[in-house]
C-alpha cells in the first residue's frame, strides 16, 4: 500500500455553538496533490489543523494509512505543516531552521548536514544557508518553510495558504514550482486555499468546502465542467446561474424554460430533474453573435457593459426576458476589442452542450462575496 493516505471520517469541530467543520468525510489519496478549497470561514484551515494535530476534533476521526491519529500530538505524527505565516525561527540561520526537525530526531550530525544540503539545493536556496530568515525575500522564506517541513520526510505535507502573502506574479511561478516539487518528492500534499484558480492549477483532486461541509470532491476538470450544485458552479470561476423549469426530455437532453416563451435545450447535468431548478453556463461557452442571427438555443439581448481584459472582453448582456449574463469573448482578431460596445443589440447562442441542469433537491446558499451576476438565489427551491 502506498503511504500517505488520509481519511477523514465524519470529522466534526465545534467552537462553542459554532460548527466549524460539520461531519465531513474526505478521502485524500496517497501521493497526490489534494486541495481544500472554500471561502474564508468554511472550515478548511480547521480541517487542516485537525490533520496536523493542532486542533482536537469534537467527534470523528483522522486516519492516516488506516491508523487513527486522533489524540496523537503533532510531534508524533508523520505529517508536517507549511504555515501561512511560514513561522520560520527568526533567530536561527536558514540551515538551522531546516535542520531543526532532524536534530529533534537525533539524526547524526553528518547526515543532518547532507540532508539539509540536499533539500536546500532542491528548493534552490543552497547559497543562502547561513542567512537569517529576516534577510530573505517572501518567496525565499516560503521555500525555507517548505524545505524545513520536507526534510523530515513526512508522509503527508500540509500547506495552509502558503502563497497567500506573495504578489500575483510570484504566486503563479511558485504554483507551478510547487506542483513540480510534489511530483518529484511523491509525498501527499494537502493544500488549503480560497483561490479557485490556484486550486485548479495545482491539484489532482479538490474538495470544495462551504459552511463546514463538503459541497463536492472531484478532479479540477469535473468541478469546473460538472459542478454538482450552484455553490460549486459559482465558486469555481464566474458562471451564469439562471432559474429555470425543466419541462421534459428533448433530443439528447431536456427542455428547460427560462421565462415565458424562452425555452432552450440542455444536454448536461442532472437530466432527471423536473420542475423548478437552475441551469448554469460558463461565460466562455456563450457565443455572442450579431443581432438577428437565427437558430435554436438563441436568446436576444443587449450589451450593457464591456470590460477589456487584454486577452479578451468580458461582456455583460441583458437578455430580453430580464436576466443579465456574463460572456467572455476571446481577443482573436483586431476587431474584437471594438466590435462590442454598450447598447449594441446582440444574440446570445447558448449551445445545448454548454447548458448544465443542476439538481433541484439541494438548497445551497451562495456566499455574500460570490461572483454571481445573477439575482440572489432563493434559499429554498421547491421540487
Amino acid at each position: 500500500m502506498s503511504k500517505g493516505e488520509v481519511s477523514l471520517v465524519s470529522l466534526t469541530k465545534r467552537f462553542g455553538e459554532f460548527v466549524a467543520v460539520d461531519a465531513i468525510d474526505v478521502q485524500i489519496p496517497p501521493g497526490g496533490f489534494f486541495s481544500l478549497l472554500g471561502p474564508s470561514g468554511c472550515g478548511k484551515t480547521t480541517t487542516l489543523r485537525m490533520i496536523g494535530g493542532f486542533e482536537q476534533p469534537t467527534s470523528g476521526q483522522v486516519l492516516l494509512d488506516g491508523r487513527d491519529m486522533t489524540g496523537t500530538p503533532p510531534s508524533k505524527r508523520p505529517v508536517n505543516t507549511v504555515f501561512q505565516s511560514y513561522a520560520l525561527f527568526p533567530h536561527l540561520r536558514v540551515f538551522d531552521n531546516v535542520a531543526f526537525g532532524l536534530r529533534r530526531q537525533r539524526v547524526p550530525r553528518a547526515e543532518v548536514r547532507q540532508r539539509v544540503g540536499e533539500i536546500l539545493e532542491l528548493v534552490q536556496l543552497g547559497s543562502l544557508a547561513s542567512r537569517k530568515p529576516g534577510q530573505l525575500s517572501g518567496g525565499q522564506q516560503q521555500r525555507v518553510a517548505l524545505a524545513r517541513a520536507l526534510v523530515v520526510q513526512p508522509e503527508v505535507l500540509l500547506l495552509d495558504e502558503p502563497l497567500g502573502a506573495l504578489d500575483a506574479k510570484l504566486r503563479r511561478e511558485l504554483q507551478l514550482e510547487l506542483k513540480q516539487l510534489q511530483n518529484d518528492v511523491g509525498i501527499t500534499f494537502a493544500y488549503v486555499t480560497h483561490d479557485q484558480e490556484e486550486a485548479l492549477t495545482m491539484s489532482d483532486r479538490i474538495a470544495v468546502l462551504n459552511r463546514g461541509r463538503v459541497e463536492q470532491a472531484a478532479s479540477p476538470r469535473e468541478l469546473y465542467e460538472e459542478p454538482a450544485n450552484a455553490f460549486v458552479a459559482d465558486f469555481l470561476g464566474v458562471s451564469n446561474l439562471m432559474e429555470a423549469s425543466v419541462i421534459g426530455p428533448s433530443g439528447d437532453g431536456v427542455e428547460v424554460r427560462l421565462a415565458e416563451g424562452i425555452t432552450l435545450d440542455a444536454h448536461h447535468g442532472n437530466l432527471a430533474t423536473r420542475g423548478a431548478t437552475k441551469v448554469v453556463i460558463r461565460p466562455e461557452r456563450i457565443q455572442v453573435e450579431p443581432a438577428g442571427s437565427g437558430g435554436a438555443n438563441r436568446v436576444p439581448g443587449m450589451v450593457t457593459n464591456v470590460v477589456y481584459l487584454g486577452s479578451g472582453l468580458q461582456l455583460t448582456i441583458h437578455l430580453g426576458f430580464g436576466r443579465d449574463v456574463t460572456a467572455l469573448v476571446a481577443n482573436t482578431d483586431e476587431d474584437t476589442a471594438t466590435r462590442w460596445t454598450p447598447g449594441a443589440p446582440v444574440t446570445c447562442h447558448l449551445p445545448p452542450t454548454a447548458m448544465r441542469v443542476l439538481g433541484n433537491e439541494q438548497a445551497t446558499q451562495l456566499p455574500a462575496a460570490a461572483h454571481s451576476v445573477d439575482e440572489p438565489a432563493p434559499t429554498s427551491v421547491v421540487p
Binding site: F54, F83, P90, F100, R104, G134, Q135, R148
Partner: protein, 288 residues
C-alpha cells in the same frame, strides 16, 4: 511633529529643560558635594577631594549594606523575572474576562501601598513561625516587582507568532524543547529589561525592607535613612550615593546596548524584529 508655532516651540523647550533640571539637579548636586572638601554639604565649595570615597569604602557597615542590597536586588530580579515569564505564558492561554481578572490580580501590587504589603507580609511570616530575614525581603520585593516583569515580558511574548511554537512541535519538539529552543531565545531582550527594572526597584526599596530586614543587617536604603541623622557619616553617604548613581547609569547604558546588540544578533543584520514600545520605554525610564 506638528507645527506648533513660535510660542508653542518656546514653551515646549522651557518645559523640557525645566523637567530635565528638576530630574537631574539633585543627582548633580550629590556628585559635586561628594568631591567637596568639607564635612557639611553647603556652599561655597571648599576645594576638591577624594577622601570621602576612601573613607566610605573603609566604612564596612556602609559597604556591607550596599553589597547586601545588591545581593537582594540580584536575587529578586532573577526570581521575579522567572515568575513573570511563567505568569505571562499562563496569561497567553487566557481570553476575555478570565484574562482581565488574572491580569488585574497579578498587577494588584502596583496599586497597593508598599507599607501595607510590608505589614501584611510581616504578620504572615510571623503567623507561619518565621521572623524577618533577608529571604523575606527578597520575597517582599518579588511581590512588588512581579507586575513590572509581567508588563515587560507579556508584550514580547504576544509579539511572537504563535505558529512558531506550533512549527517546533510539528517538527518533533516537546513543549519544553520548543520553549527552550524557540521562545526563550526570542524573549531574551525582554528578560534583560525586566531584570534591570526589578533590580533597580528592589535596590532602593525602603518600606518593605525596613519591616522585613533582620536587625543588624540593614539594606542600603535603611542604612542611609539611619545615617543621615548622624552628621559624621554624611560625607560617606554622599560619596556612596554618587557612586551608586554613576554605577546605575553605566548599568542601564550597558544593558540597553546589550539588548540592542542581542536584538540585532537574533534576527540578523539589516532586519529588525518588532520591539514592543512599552519594553523600550520602560528600559529607558528604569534608572529613575
Amino acid at each position: 511633529m506638528k507645527p506648533v508655532g513660535r510660542f508653542g516651540a518656546l514653551s515646549l523647550n522651557v518645559y523640557f529643560w525645566a523637567f530635565v533640571a528638576f530630574l537631574f539637579a539633585p543627582l548633580i548636586v550629590l556628585v559635586i558635594f561628594s568631591m567637596n572638601n568639607s564635612m557639611t554639604p553647603t556652599l561655597p565649595l571648599s576645594g576638591f577631594t577624594t577622601k570621602w570615597f576612601d573613607q566610605a569604602f573603609s566604612n564596612s557597615e556602609l559597604t556591607g549594606a550596599v553589597v547586601r542590597s545588591a545581593g537582594i536586588a540580584l536575587t529578586t530580579s532573577v526570581f521575579a523575572t522567572a515568575l513573570g515569564v511563567m505568569a505571562s505564558i499562563g496569561l497567553m492561554a487566557l481570553r476575555g474576562r478570565a484574562l482581565a481578572l488574572a491580569v488585574a490580580t497579578l498587577l494588584l501590587p502596583l496599586v497597593v501601598p508598599y507599607i501595607s504589603l510590608a505589614v501584611g507580609l510581616l504578620i504572615l511570616l510571623q503567623t507561619l513561625g518565621a521572623g524577618p530575614s533577608l529571604g523575606a525581603v527578597v520575597l517582599g520585593h518579588a511581590v512588588i516587582t512581579l507586575p513590572f516583569a509581567i508588563l515587560v515580558v507579556l508584550p514580547r511574548l504576544r509579539s511572537l507568532d504563535p505558529a512558531m511554537n506550533e512549527a517546533a512541535l510539528d517538527l518533533g519538539a516537546s513543549s519544553l524543547a520548543a520553549f527552550r529552543l524557540i521562545t526563550l531565545p526570542l524573549i531574551v531582550p525582554a528578560l534583560v529589561s525586566s531584570g534591570i527594572i526589578c533590580f533597580v526597584t528592589s535596590f532602593d526599596e525602603f518600606a518593605i525592607a525596613s519591616f522585613l530586614a533582620p536587625a543588624g543587617q540593614p539594606t542600603y536604603p535603611i542604612f542611609l535613612y539611619a545615617s543621615v541623622r548622624t552628621p559624621a557619616l554624611l560625607p560617606d553617604v554622599i560619596a556612596i550615593g554618587a557612586i551608586v548613581i554613576v554605577a546605575s547609569l553605566l548599568l542601564v547604558v550597558a544593558a540597553e546596548g546589550g539588548r540592542r546588540w542581542a536584538e540585532r544578533r537574533l534576527v540578523g543584520a539589516g532586519a529588525a524584529l518588532e520591539i514592543p514600545v512599552e519594553e523600550a520605554a520602560i528600559s529607558v525610564i528604569a534608572p529613575g
